[in-house]
Assembly symmetry: C2
Homo-oligomer: 344 residues x 2
């Protein structure tokens, strides 16, 4: 039975419930000897505190929420990994919600979290057009930290990656490897990340004295089905010698499009894709990827949240920008060192 509560512990120890409660919380006004006795008995009786009762009284849930578009996405699952580790270190619990890019669902989640169920929220927002968002209602009530998919129209703590820079670097990398016509495959292009990636591409072209040709920049769809054809059409009509896939899901369509057309990678077309798949190099030894520090981002976001929860100094409304990594794989077989085992 799980009926062991503070009262029973107290009775067993000939102490009052208040004393036991204090001893368990390691209060300074309890003698060391008593504390030891209480702890010992708690262990022996297999006492487990009731979090609901504790929350109700203390207004601390020991729980944080993570809201992301999709869990089964290598970036977000790595970020959640990082968050979970930090939470665990603080003896906190982690609630997970996925919005599937649906803003209304996101709002519903947030609303339901305004009830004291959690002490803070980490969010990577849904890409749905920025309709009604009620983030402003959250901030006075709970710490809210944005990571990766940040919300622009609000002053808050935000953690992103240098999308502009990495896209710029990627484009430059292709130029330096001889590409003259570099195409860009857009993903979700109304987010800050999407915009920054496009800007980096365009600026890198400009700085390389290559004329930007908007026929080389195409929108892609949600479905895996159509994208290979979109890329094929692009390859046929524009004959680019380089491709930048601005999101992970576009790497595979590029690969298949090239194969179907008999184009060799990287001899005929060089490809760089944004991707957090650890096995991305598998695609082709020549596939260069831009990898976001998802795990680190999760840890960082959670770290800041716990600083706030522990009332430590935190720079308000800061925007932290973490570096992405351009991973170039040589066809010699020695692949650039992947990031070290993350949980080491």
């Amino acid at each position: 039975m799980d009926k062991v509560n503070i009262k029973k512990l107290a009775a067993e120890l000939n102490l009052s419930a208040a004393t036991v409660s204090r001893a368990l919380r390691d209060s300074h006004e309890i003698g060391a000897a008593t504390k030891a006795r209480v702890m010992e008995m708690a262990r022996k009786m297999n006492y487990v505190p009731n979090p609901s009762a504790s929350n109700l009284r203390s207004h601390k849930s020991k729980t944080i929420a993570v809201i992301v578009p999709e869990i089964a996405n290598s970036f977000f699952s790595q970020a959640i990994n990082g968050i979970e580790e930090i939470a665990r270190a603080h003896n906190y619990h982690v609630l997970i919600y996925q919005t599937h890019e649906n803003v209304e669902l996101e709002n519903a989640f947030i609303r339901s979290l305004l009830s004291g169920r959690v002490d803070g929220i980490l969010i990577s927002i849904a890409s749905g057009l920025n309709g009604e968002r009620n983030f402003k209602d959250v901030l006075p009530v709970l710490p809210l930290i944005f990571f990766d998919r940040v919300y622009e129209d609000i002053e808050a703590i935000k953690i992103t990656t240098n999308d502009y820079q990495s896209s710029y670097t990627a484009t430059k990398h292709l130029v330096e490897n001889g590409c003259k016509k570099i195409a860009y495959l857009k993903g979700i292009d109304h987010t800050p990340a999407g915009k920054n990636r496009i800007a980096g591409y365009i600026d890198a072209l400009r700085d390389s004295d290559i004329l930007f040709d908007d026929r080389l920049m195409i929108a892609t769809g949600d479905e895996q089905q159509e994208n290979p054809d979109l890329v094929k059409n692009l390859l046929l009509s524009q004959k680019p010698d380089g491709l930048i896939a601005s999101i992970e899901d576009l790497a595979l369509p590029c690969y298949y499009a090239c194969r179907d057309l008999g184009l060799k990678i990287p001899e005929d077309v060089k490809i760089i894709s944004f991707s957090n798949l650890k096995t991305a190099g598998i695609l082709n030894p020549s596939l260069t990827t831009i990898t976001q520090p998802a795990f680190e981002m999760g840890r960082t976001a959670a770290g800041i949240l716990f600083k706030i929860l522990n009332r430590k100094e935190v720079e308000p409304n800061q925007t932290l920008v973490l570096d992405s990594e351009l991973v170039v794989r040589e066809s010699t077989g020695s692949l650039t060192q992947p990031s070290p085992k993350e949980r080491a």
Copy 2:
């Protein structure tokens, strides 16, 4: 402020707290008119119920826990995706814990969940040697459902995939495609899944009149670093013409080993890997994979849990076996249809 509670609502409405509570919970003993009034006022006053108070009284947390070895693993993240969707449909919240294959951590999580924090647990157990497990202490207190990594020494509801059959099929597939010497790369081999995969391989060889040669079955390590070399040694010393990678992480080492040795896939060596990576086909058009129905498994496990929570009929101690899928990719470019968009 979030100070609106049932009492204030009641005062505003000239009703008792109990009536308001019942109205909000849509109790059948409240008149439609009153319900409407209450709901209206609740909305107007922006009332959000306090879950801790509710839990404390009702012993229902509206929360379930998911315990997995790693979140950032395509199989588990897809499973969590499925779980989250079902939980969402039931207006439940989902707590996530990762054990990193550490049994003690797993025990600690479970122990902390015996406090009323959750109404049920879905678990895929850590692979650490089956030391002290306290699953038996859980069952009388909470519904506990095992998925994928099930615990053998307990009577409980378990959901797995047909590891034996899929490994058997994979081996047969290689034989039918001309392989005579098929090597097997072991992952974690003391789990039921690991054992079943090995058994399927061995039985398929036997049924194909191929002598099992244990030099063709090698253990692999945790680190990406060493595995390519292990595979290389195997390829050099045994010269197999087929490889079965029993876990996802082994596909890449196989690929690199072949490349480093100048072996062509699939001409010189055919490879089949267990893998849940949607982009696995990316490796090589000829890579055949065995894909587990992770999403479906998550949905199924959660579905059964909610049946239990809703006191519906559930066959006790059932073991459900879902089918894995052998996905053969043709080098013609038409890849076998991937599973349909999961959240459709």
